[in-house]
């Protein structure tokens, strides 16, 4: 029911500015995920939207109304706090019922909604307990339950699943997704560190860094077309491998080559000169194949290998003082440490970034 529009939102604690002017336009019904390194200001931004922090600059519009001075309770939001913020003196049931009681919902309605939320979150056996007698994950679920019991225009979730086990997390994630679908008008803003969550839930992802928006886009845009080095490395796990390369343009074709490595030819429509000089080449671990020496762009030895069952992650030292290259190969190969391997990035999956770290659109020839 509500769109959220942030224009130049700033927030400072004392001298220290945490948010440096955030512009963001969230359409009604959209599911937006905030991601970014720890401490980049996600929670602060969420709290600012909720009205829990008075912003020091800019405006927050909810549903087209400038809401800077509208109290949180009038903004039509529900929020899951990163630290849960459960009411310690109330049972789980009462924690969930509180918001509804405040809005004078009829008793049956309250009971119905609590029963439903408890069911989804597998909290039914704990409804009569106090928060202090719950496990970490259970507390977190109560916090989620409290939010979804209400019927807000905007949902704000601050890392709501971080303490849940994988199965429950998937289940809850799906529930949230369903919730989102069943309430097409409800806007959801969601903070997470979990790539999977971000990718699966988001209509759009907002990448924050040090109080600035780095990129906004659909998950696939971010994954396939990261706007800059930071986003490229931040999205995807393990992170994209970055190798410094030297580019030189000749005859309308650029040639980029890692130090002492084979050169790739590339072209771009956004001004060939951007492919000259020191560049960074990025390639995701899952886009690197183990190949014969002949086809290899890099060669090195495996310094460390992780078996995850379905895939294996290799850390390949390519020497020259570079970061090891991480390679993710499907299946179980039991590659031991110390083995020499030859690596080639898949052609379509090569990213190039200029000296400032901004992505350069290109085709590898």
């Amino acid at each position: 029911m509500a769109s959220v529009k942030l224009s130049g939102v700033r927030k400072a604690y004392g001298e220290m500015e945490i948010l440096h002017g955030i512009d963001l336009d969230i359409k009604k019904g959209e599911f937006v995920v905030f991601v970014g390194p720890s401490g980049c200001g996600k929670s602060t931004l969420l709290r600012a939207i909720a009205g829990l922090e008075q912003v020091t600059g800019g405006t927050i519009e909810i549903d087209g109304i400038v809401s800077n001075d509208i109290p949180p309770s009038k903004r039509g939001i529900a929020m899951v706090f990163q630290s849960y913020a459960l009411y310690p003196h109330m049972t789980v049931r009462d924690n969930m019922a509180f918001g509804l009681r405040m809005s004078r919902s009829p008793k049956e309605e309250i009971d119905r909604r609590i029963a439903k939320a408890a069911d989804i979150l597998q909290l039914t056996p704990y409804l009569h307990r106090l928060p202090k007698a719950l496990s970490g994950g259970q507390r977190q679920r109560v916090a989620i339950g409290r939010a979804i019991c209400r019927d807000p225009k905007v949902f704000l979730f601050d890392e709501p699943l971080s303490n849940l086990d994988a199965a429950l997390r998937v289940a809850t994630r799906i529930e949230i997704a369903k919730l989102n679908e069943s309430m097409p008008d409800t806007t959801m803003i969601y903070v997470t560190h979990d790539q999977v969550e971000a990718m699966t839930l988001a209509d759009r992802i907002v990448v924050l860094r040090g109080g600035n928006v780095e990129q906004v886009g659909t998950p696939m845009e971010l994954y396939h077309k990261p706007a800059n080095l930071f986003v490229a490395q931040f999205i995807g796990s393990p992170a994209m491998n970055i190798v410094p390369v030297e580019g030189s343009v000749a005859n309308g074709v650029a040639s980029v080559a890692p130090k002492g490595g084979r050169a790739l030819s590339a072209k771009t429509e956004s001004g060939m000169e951007r492919l000259a000089g020191p560049l960074s080449l990025g390639v995701r671990p899952e886009n690197i194949d183990l190949v014969d020496e002949a086809k290899a762009l890099f060669s090195g030895t495996v310094t460390y290998a992780e078996q995850l069952g379905e895939v294996e992650i290799l850390y390949v030292d390519i020497g020259a003082g570079e970061q090891p290259i991480v390679v993710k190969i499907p299946g179980y190969h039991a590659i031991e440490r110390g083995r020499g391997v030859h690596l080639a990035p898949q052609k379509g999956a090569i990213h190039l970034f200029d000296a400032k770290g901004n992505a350069v659109e290109h085709q590898i020839l």
Partner: protein, 336 residues
């Protein structure tokens, strides 16, 4: 004068240092005698058991000793006295209690005391809570707090003069020097001798104690209020609770324990209340209370037996509160 200041400083330092020394010293000693630092030593577990058993008593030691000597011993002494005659020369059994039951003054006091018990703790806690909560939200809150606190800091003699200037009664027609009567006259009513109107005068005396104790309640509750996790209040704000709802549903329940403590403390002050009644009416005009009655028998009547019996009654009245505190402490223990 400087000499005096220096001696004072030294005595103060000795006093404070002595008690610090006790705690540090005994704890050090305990760890010395029963070492269990390196978990490997064969006696470690045993030593640990001993130290865990002993240490609480080290911590409690001075307090228990002081309470024992200064309060528990006198309590037993009082109990003994209550079974003796006026100058403790003959054992009289429960005569003093029997006398109490038949004494009109005692009945009046008990009745008044119950009135006090109903009104004062509730009102003082209520106003204290109001003061604590409301002053937290305004920029001049600290000043307001200090002003509300002031009655606590005024010595009792001062307070009795203050209230003289409030309740003073001059005949209708002459100039009132008590502000209450001045106000009443200004409104066009007859002035009243407030503290001399039976039954009602109790309330006027209660007002004084409420006036004093509100500062106490405010300070303690203010400390408790500030311990409430702010996020819970933020969550409630988001849950759509208004200020009143936050106050009643979120803040009050979280400091309920402290409210109970404040209430209990003031209740006990009320049970003991003596100086206000003593200074304002000395129990006349039917305003007697147990505390003053006891004082009266002890130091006016020199009847230690009866005075002690009244004291015992006062102490017995506190048992319900003790029981509820045992309950609460037990419930807490279950929690962790």
């Amino acid at each position: 004068m400087t000499q005096q200041v220096i001696t004072a400083t030294i005595t103060i330092l000795i006093g404070v240092a002595g008690s610090i020394l006790y705690f540090v010293g005994t704890n050090w000693l305990l760890d010395r005698i029963f070492p269990f630092r390196d978990g490997a030593s064969p006696n470690a577990a045993r030593n640990h058991r001993i130290t865990t058993a002993v240490r609480p008593w080290l911590f409690l030691g001075p307090a228990l000793l002081a309470l024992g000597v200064y309060l528990i011993y006198p309590v037993f002494e009082t109990l003994r006295l209550s079974l003796y005659n006026r100058d403790t020369t003959a054992f009289v059994g429960f005569d003093n209690y029997a006398w109490l039951v038949g004494d009109a003054g005692f009945r009046e006091s008990i009745l008044n005391n119950f009135m006090w018990l109903l009104v004062v703790p509730t009102a003082a806690t209520f106003f204290g809570l109001m003061a604590a909560v409301l002053t937290d939200r305004i920029w001049w809150g600290n000043i307001a707090k200090s002003l509300v606190f002031m009655p606590m800091a005024i010595s009792f003699v001062g307070a009795s003069v203050i209230w003289k200037f409030v309740y003073d009664y001059r005949a209708a027609g002459s100039e009132q020097i008590g502000i209450l009567n001045a106000f009443v006259v200004w409104l066009g009513f007859e002035p009243q001798a407030w503290i001399a109107v039976p039954v009602w005068n109790n309330f006027f005396l209660m007002v004084i104690l409420i006036w004093i104790q509100t500062g106490f309640a405010m300070v303690i509750l203010s400390a408790a209020l500030r311990g409430i996790p702010e996020e819970t209040m933020e969550a409630a704000v988001i849950d759509g609770a208004n200020d009143f709802q936050i106050f009643f549903h979120i803040m009050v329940p979280q400091i309920w324990g402290t409210i109970a403590v404040v209430w209990t403390t003031i209740t006990i002050v009320v049970l003991k209340v003596f100086d206000i009644v003593f200074a304002m009416t000395n129990g006349q005009w039917n305003s007697q209370v147990l505390g003053n009655l006891m004082y009266d028998w002890m130091f006016r009547g020199f009847d230690f037996g009866r005075g002690a019996a009244i004291a015992i009654v006062i102490m017995v009245l506190v048992t319900p509160i003790m029981i509820s505190n045992i309950r609460r402490a037990k419930a807490e223990t279950k929690g962790h």
